[in-house]
């Protein structure tokens, strides 16, 4: 069965999805970090996105070139949104009907893993229904102090540590499964 992987780049104090943080994050993107990010992408064959990530990514990725951009632009994207209407751009389709049911069906199909980058309402829904197989937190060695956090507003969630890997820049990958 295909796995759903949620991958997020976070500051050491758990701040996520904050564009102001990106210049700081890039300082720590050594070649081994990039290799991990490449492997994550190339071992998957579909992206799962909420509306906000879809809108952001669909604008930026088509303007980029290179191996990673080509792969992301070509791969199918499944978007969860109550407000967007078909047709979507960027080789994306809306998940119709019951999100949880549709995600379960997607997992049963043949194929590689599916990745969600970043976190939001879709992640919460998936977590609450036990659909996330792997969380990959890429933790950078700086604190940011302000902004939204990775699990804001959710109830306490327990996880199972699967892997802890250190990169040259002091970034760490912590990989968890749902407990």
């Amino acid at each position: 069965m295909r796995k759903i992987i949620v991958a997020a780049e976070v500051s050491m104090d758990g701040i996520v999805n904050n564009p102001e943080m990106f210049p700081e994050i890039f300082k720590y993107h050594t070649d081994d970090v990039q290799e991990y990010l490449d492997n994550l992408l190339f071992s998957s064959d579909a992206l799962l996105l909420g509306r906000l990530t879809y809108e952001g990514f669909a604008k930026v990725w088509p303007t980029r070139t290179g191996k990673m951009a080509d792969y992301i632009n070509k791969m199918p994207k499944h978007v969860a949104s109550r407000t967007l209407k078909e047709p979507l751009s960027w080789n994306s389709t809306l998940i119709q009907g019951d999100i949880v049911e549709e995600l379960r069906k997607l997992k049963q199909m043949d194929g590689r893993d599916m990745v969600q980058y970043g976190v939001g309402e879709l992640t919460q829904t998936m977590l609450n229904h036990g659909l996330v197989d792997r969380f990959q937190l890429l933790v950078f060695p700086f604190t940011f102090g302000k902004g939204g956090r990775w699990f804001d507003g959710m109830d306490i969630k327990h996880f199972k540590l699967i892997e802890c890997k250190t990169f040259k820049s002091g970034a760490i990958l912590m990989q968890y499964g749902q407990a």
Binding site: M12, P141, W150, M174
Partner: protein, 185 residues
């Protein structure tokens, strides 16, 4: 010159306590206990804020006095090591093995580091630790990252601080201990 070490449990989403000041999570175990004991080697003082001291000191004295408590050895260390309690208002301490410090936080800690050969450690509370961090007084961070996310709670970092990862150690039970130092400028 001595180092000021911080040791604290932290959730995956960066909280060191729940909003009603409860600790992050349980499942304390033997490995974490041993780590805490080792972290007290060459430590001459435990720093505390005045609110935390009222809980911390009697709690660990109780643990140390209980022959059946698995944390007895840790409790004894935490009880025997002298405490320095920072407070603007309280001038005299009624707590055992503790002296009050009414002076300026930055000045007093810098003096302590200069005069002292061995290290100093702090475990909390949240406001006290946040001040130490924003005044750049912590020399070593020992963060016990628990395999849980709280969704809300009390953070200790209020600004950007660049760090250098010294070591990341996964423990059984899913906690990862991250040891950081402030990044060298």
């Amino acid at each position: 010159m001595s180092k000021l070490k911080l040791q604290m449990q932290i959730s995956l989403d960066g909280f060191v306590a729940t909003t009603d000041s409860k600790p992050v999570i349980s499942n304390w175990n033997d490995e974490l206990r041993k780590y805490s004991i080792t972290n007290l080697e060459r430590v001459d003082y435990i720093l505390l804020g005045s609110k935390t001291a009222l809980d911390f000191i009697p709690f660990w004295a109780g643990v140390a006095a209980n022959p059946n408590d698995p944390d007895r050895q840790l409790g004894k260390l935490l009880t025997d090591i002298p405490k320095i309690i920072f407070s603007k208002k309280i001038t005299k301490s009624t707590l055992a093995n503790a002296k009050m410090e009414n002076g300026d936080l930055v000045d007093e800690i810098k003096k302590l580091k200069k005069e002292n050969g061995n290290d100093i450690i702090v475990y909390g509370g949240v406001d006290f630790v946040s001040s130490l961090i924003s005044n750049q007084l912590i020399d070593e961070y020992h963060l016990l990252v628990r395999p849980a996310a709280l969704g809300s709670g009390m953070p200790i970092f209020k600004q950007t601080t660049n760090l250098e990862l010294i070591k990341a150690t996964p423990f059984s039970g899913g906690t990862v201990i991250l040891k950081y130092e402030p990044a060298k400028k």
